[in-house]
Amino acid sequence: MSAPLLSIENLTVGFSTERGPVTAVRGVSLAVDAGETLCLVGESGCGKSVTCHAVLGLLPSNGRVTGGRILFEDRDLAAFSERELERLRGREVAMIFQDPLTALNPVHSIGKQLAEVLILHRGLSWDAAKAEVKRLLDRVRIPDAGRRLGEYPHQLSGGMNQRVAIAMAMACRPKLIIADEPTTALDVTIQAQILELLRELQAEEGLALMLVTHDLGVVAEMADRVAVMYLGRVAEEAAVNDLFSAPCHPYTRGLLRSIPRIDENVARLATIEGSVPSLHAVPAGCPFAPRCENACTACVEHVPEPLVRADGRRVACFAPVAA
């Protein structure tokens, strides 16, 4: 088996805050193979975005990778200098953010912002870049690209802006795109179009996708593999079908139960009892133990290490859901 394209090993990320240091990501291991889609799911604050930002060295100034390795084609990005990261970002690994309007610079036309990537990484002149920009806009199916490239983000709809962001990410044919909730800020119909576009481009270019989402519907549609995160750790990682058909971790089961279903009575919709603990008061044992139906004494006292099972799943749990 060849090495994965991206392999995050035991990543730890800490932040210094006014209330003292916190560890937002505690020993996360993930792998993305070339051409595959890994979805990252989990409740708000579990460390999905922080993990993504760590990969590209985009952590805010109070955050730092405090442990682990981020291997991209066997190079450790966590040890990269800022110079090396600048050459990697946008060229080999690109990123798409949640809110497309605020993610684009309001004072530059979208054409210029797109051209910037081409000029930075492919050394094109403005004129050459302009032709390429038009091609890219056509590619993400923005109608009337020639006129649009002179427009500003506020003149475009959310969906159109996200298409621009996708075009920007695609511009240098990266091997991996990290998309942090790329459709959360959009209308449902637009969401579907954007996901469709991402999938098509992914198939055409053979690129790998690391997709963060809250939406298990999106997971079902897009993912090859899924990693479920809870409070800075990976609770369970599995192929998408396995995960949906038979969740192993009680937290995964809880998440799946909380999906509203058309064929069931809404009143019976389950939610997970309790709330996510604060990063300033992380439980000593399994972080999910206080909310877990299956919790036993071991769960409260020790942190379960993620174990790889025979079927290729990784589960970090002392008392997994019986199959």
Binding site: L58, R89, F97, A103, L104, E116, L120, Y152, H154
Partner: protein
């Protein structure tokens, strides 16, 4: 569509000017019979009557108003009571000196304030940031005349390095320019810093980083044009402050500009000159605000476009 934005601003500026002119008219009429104020106390009844007719004061008010606007439009502000010359002429002679001082102070405050603010923002919460901002607050809070006197005490009296009055050489400019520009420099530094910090925390700055743009490019191409938008607005306000500050500064340093002229004209009750100065200052303020508006529209595509659709 951009043309419409500029047109709207231009019309607005014209209306403001008309308002200023009318305001001066009202003040002059309300403050009493101009002949009482303008003519010497020992003027004979004949003289008073002569001027009443000459100035059209025997006409109804609205006619006087039209006449007044008409003469203002033709640059006719009356005769200086001090040296019997055309009031506008007297004022215009002083304009270059004030313009020289004001523009130099403006350039000084921009060159000092904006880089300091950006520097402080980029080194947020460091010692350098705190020092810079203390300096900015000091510059902003210190009254004009106080700073001026302080500088004179230091550089003229103690060190004897710089001349304290007049405008003969470049050396003469240093202290007045610093005095006048310091407050604006302080404000600009503070605003540039906060505008820059605001911009640096925006999501598009992270996008720029994620694209692989180097730091200098992110600051220069992505951050600064955005931060410039609020800074230019403040700059607009500060120009008004510079004009009023020039009054005090010119007096402290005996700078032969319109500020000093105004002070003398007021104490000599030379109303035509006062009126000409006030109108000229009003005119300058309106024009500079117009320029700032244009600059703002040029910097911010959102303003440019929404300003246009407003009129549509």
């Amino acid at each position: 569509m951009t043309a419409r934005f500029f047109l709207v601003k231009l019309v607005r500026a014209m209306l403001t000017l008309l308002l200023v002119v009318s305001f001066v008219f009202v003040i002059l009429r309300v403050s009493g019979d101009p002949t009482d104020i303008l003519l010497p106390d020992d003027a004979t009844a004949d003289t008073i009557e002569y001027y009443r007719t000459a100035w059209g004061l025997d006409k109804p008010l609205h006619e006087q108003y039209v006449r007044y606007v008409w003469s203002v439009l033709h640059g006719d502000f009356g005769i200086s009571l001090q040296d019997n010359r055309d009031a506008l002429q007297v004022v215009l002679e002083r304009v270059p000196a004030t313009l020289q001082l004001g523009l130099a102070a403006l350039v000084f405050s921009i060159m000092l304030g904006i880089p300091l603010g950006i520097f402080a923002a980029l080194h947020r919460n460091s010692m350098a940031d705190r020092l810079t901002m203390s300096f900015a607050v000091l510059g902003y809070a210190m009254p004009n005349f106080f700073l001026g006197i302080l500088l004179i005490l230091l550089f003229t009296m103690s060190l004897q390095w710089l001349p304290s009055s007049g405008s003969a050489t470049l050396w003469h400019m240093i202290m007045p320019v610093a005095t006048l520009g310091m407050a604006a420099a302080g404000t600009l530094a503070r605003f540039s810093r906060s505008a820059m910090l605001e911009v640096l925390s925006q999501s598009y700055m992270r996008t720029a980083k994620a694209k692989g743009a180097p730091r200098l490019r992110r600051i220069g191409w992505h951050a600064m044009p955005n931060a410039a938008i609020p800074v230019v607005t403040v700059l607009g306000f500060k120009i008004g402050g510079l004009i009023s500050g020039a009054l005090v500064t010119e007096t402290v340093f005996a700078w032969p500009g319109i500020g000093r002229l105004l002070v003398m004209a007021v104490s000599n009750r030379d109303l035509p000159v006062v009126q000409a100065v006030v109108l000229l200052v009003g005119f300058t303020m309106v024009v500079t605000n117009l320029i700032v508006d244009f600059l703002y529209g040029w910097l911010d595509p959102r303003v440019r476009v929404s300003g246009a659709s407003q009129g549509a």
